[in-house]
């Protein structure tokens, strides 16, 4: 019997195991270090970074919805410089990959932060293309094939790091967008970012999120995420980090069967700060029970006729 090796190779980014945490849900790891051993996570996608510090949006920034939550933090973060000086040294104490989630409102912003981080000690850049493009009426970069091609190729040009492109689910044809990201130099893809959602207080008649709309995450979106991961799996050759509503190890396996090489846990951390370790344990058990030697063996393993 072969031995299980949990590591997964995301086209150059080698994770010790397929469990990562999703950007914006894990801060810079500090808070969770009290609850779990960060050495047990394959990689940490840190809070979305911008070139300059950002205050983020006014409150309320969150509302619970049926088996989900809408958030609109507005990319509050200390800026890339503080991240490099204060957070990287902290994270480097642990044997886990640092994935820097980068954000911008112009292609120049994105390139600026990618350049800055190319000179820093991070393992991968995760290009969040769900940000609004201020030069294009605020439409998210990730929803327009042309903008995707442009921003990915420009960032690729300056990024001297492994590059993940994080896809928005709010599109008609995610396979097409995925192919464009791949063609323009993405080493891997991650998805899904949040679905756009809204909720209204019927007494005050105001939106329950100060920013009016926000991003829906949590178990509610899992069926959509599985479908989109499978679409992307059929469209591209590069590795996929699957996420969206993962609460338990079974969900992690489901994402891998749909086509993911690794998974990312977001909202579930809020409910159970130890969820990553529990998912790792459960998935390991499944691999062992089913005689699987490498997580990537089950990638896209869902079977059906058609």
């Amino acid at each position: 019997m072969n031995k299980l090796d949990l590591s997964v190779d995301l086209n150059g980014l080698l994770l010790k195991n397929p469990i990562t945490v999703a950007s914006g849900t894990f801060g810079f790891g500090r808070e969770y270090a009290d609850y779990i051993d960060l050495n047990n996570i394959g990689g940490i996608s840190v809070k979305g970074l911008t070139l300059l510090p950002r205050k983020g949006n006014p409150a309320p920034r969150v509302i619970e919805t049926p088996m989900g939550m809408i958030n609109s933090v507005g990319l509050q973060n200390p800026g890339v410089d503080v991240f490099v000086e204060e957070e990287i040294p902290f994270l480097r104490q642990f044997d886990t990959k640092i994935i820097a989630n980068i954000n911008g409102n112009t292609v120049e912003d994105y390139c600026g932060i990618a350049e800055r981080l190319s000179a820093a000690d991070v393992d991968s850049l995760e290009l969040n293309i769900s940000c609004p493009n201020v030069k294009n009426g605020g439409m998210a970069f990730g929803t327009d094939p042309k903008m995707v091609a442009h921003v990915v190729s420009e960032v690729r040009r300056v990024a001297k790091k492994h590059l993940i492109v994080k896809l928005s689910p709010n599109v008609t044809n995610i396979g097409e967008i995925a192919k464009i990201a791949e063609a323009n130099g993405a080493d891997a893809l991650s998805l899904i970012n949040t679905l756009t959602g809204m909720a209204i207080d019927i007494n005050t008649r105001k939106p329950l999120i100060a920013n009016v709309i926000g991003g829906l995450s949590g178990p509610a979106v899992k069926p959509v995420a599985i479908k989109l991961v499978h679409d992307v799996y059929k469209a591209v050759q590069i590795p996929i980090i699957g996420m969206g509503g993962i609460m338990k190890w079974e969900d992690g396996i489901e994402f891998m069967l749909a086509g993911a090489d690794a998974i990312s846990i977001g909202t579930a951390n809020f409910v159970n700060p130890k969820v990553t370790e529990e998912v790792l344990e459960g998935m390991t058990g499944y691999f062992n029970k089913n005689g699987i030697c490498s997580p990537q063996e089950i990638k896209g393993g869902v079977t059906y006729q058609k």
């Binding site: 983020g56 409150a59 309320p60 088996m67 933090v73 809020f270």
Partner: protein
């Protein structure tokens, strides 16, 4: 690091139509008044997010929470019975800082009266005899018996119930601050009350310490959804701080109430 896990329910008592007092077995912890626990309200995955509840009182081997029924989460907590277990994370947040305080004033309104029980108790424990406590209610007061065991100096306002100062607790506060000098006002209550208290204290030059509420997701400082606008004295701009981590207690002078 805070405790994460199940605690046993020792008692669940109906206080009035809306409020119940949930007593859990204590775990080893140093709890500061004003800190909170984040409750998983059911064994199943729904409701998804935890619910933050302030510590109302710590007794030997017991932690007591006063909870108001609002939606499904608090309704489920009200169904708990002695012997059940409930999953919590806590204590969380900064809690009240009583360091160096000579003459404290304790103010609570509505369900915000609850965390002030422990505030008064800890003040007494650290040597403040007969702490002055101002309480405000919409209807019939609750919890007075608890305060009476801690202090003899209690003033009570109610908007509707008979036999108390008619109206808002803020009226009492103005009177009290005019009558004597306090060096710290510790407060919990509804948003409008906190705003009014902060303004009154600022006007009278007394520092206020507000236990703020904001919707939360993680409760441990990771998600940044529980933001509170804070402008420190002398700074030209505000910062968005985390209610669950830098708070829930913030200096009244520094909170920007802008809605």
């Amino acid at each position: 690091m805070s405790f994460v896990g199940n605690l046993e329910v020792l008692k669940n008592e109906v206080i009035n139509e809306e409020v119940f007092a949930l007593t859990l077995e204590a775990h080893e912890a140093d709890i500061k008044a004003g800190q909170f626990y984040n409750f998983k309200t059911s064994d199943i995955v729904y409701p998804l997010l935890r619910r933050p509840i302030s510590v109302a009182l710590v007794e030997d081997g017991k932690i007591i929470f006063y909870i108001q029924k609002k939606g499904t989460g608090t309704q489920l907590l009200s169904n708990l019975k002695a012997g059940d277990e409930v999953n919590v994370i806590g204590p969380l947040g900064n809690g009240f800082d009583f360091t160096g305080i000579k003459k404290p004033l304790v103010v609570g309104g509505g369900i915000g009266v609850a965390p002030m029980m422990e505030a008064a108790r800890q003040l007494k424990e650290s040597g403040h005899e007969a702490v002055k406590v101002l309480l405000g209610y919409r209807e019939e007061p609750y919890g007075i018996d608890v305060f009476e065991k801690i202090t003899s100096d209690i003033a009570i306002a109610s908007e509707r119930a008979e036999g108390y100062h008619k109206g808002y607790v803020t009226a009492l506060l103005e009177e009290v601050l005019d009558a004597a000098v306090y060096d710290g006002v510790f407060v919990c209550g509804p948003h409008v009350m906190l705003k009014a208290v902060a303004a009154i204290c600022k006007a009278k030059g007394v520092k206020s310490h507000l236990l703020m509420e904001e919707k939360m997701a993680c409760g441990i400082g990771a998600c940044l959804v529980c933001t509170c606008k804070i402008q420190k004295e002398g700074e030209s701009d505000f910062k968005n701080l985390r209610t669950c981590k830098e708070g829930p207690v913030f200096p009244g002078e520094e909170v920007l109430f802008d809605e």
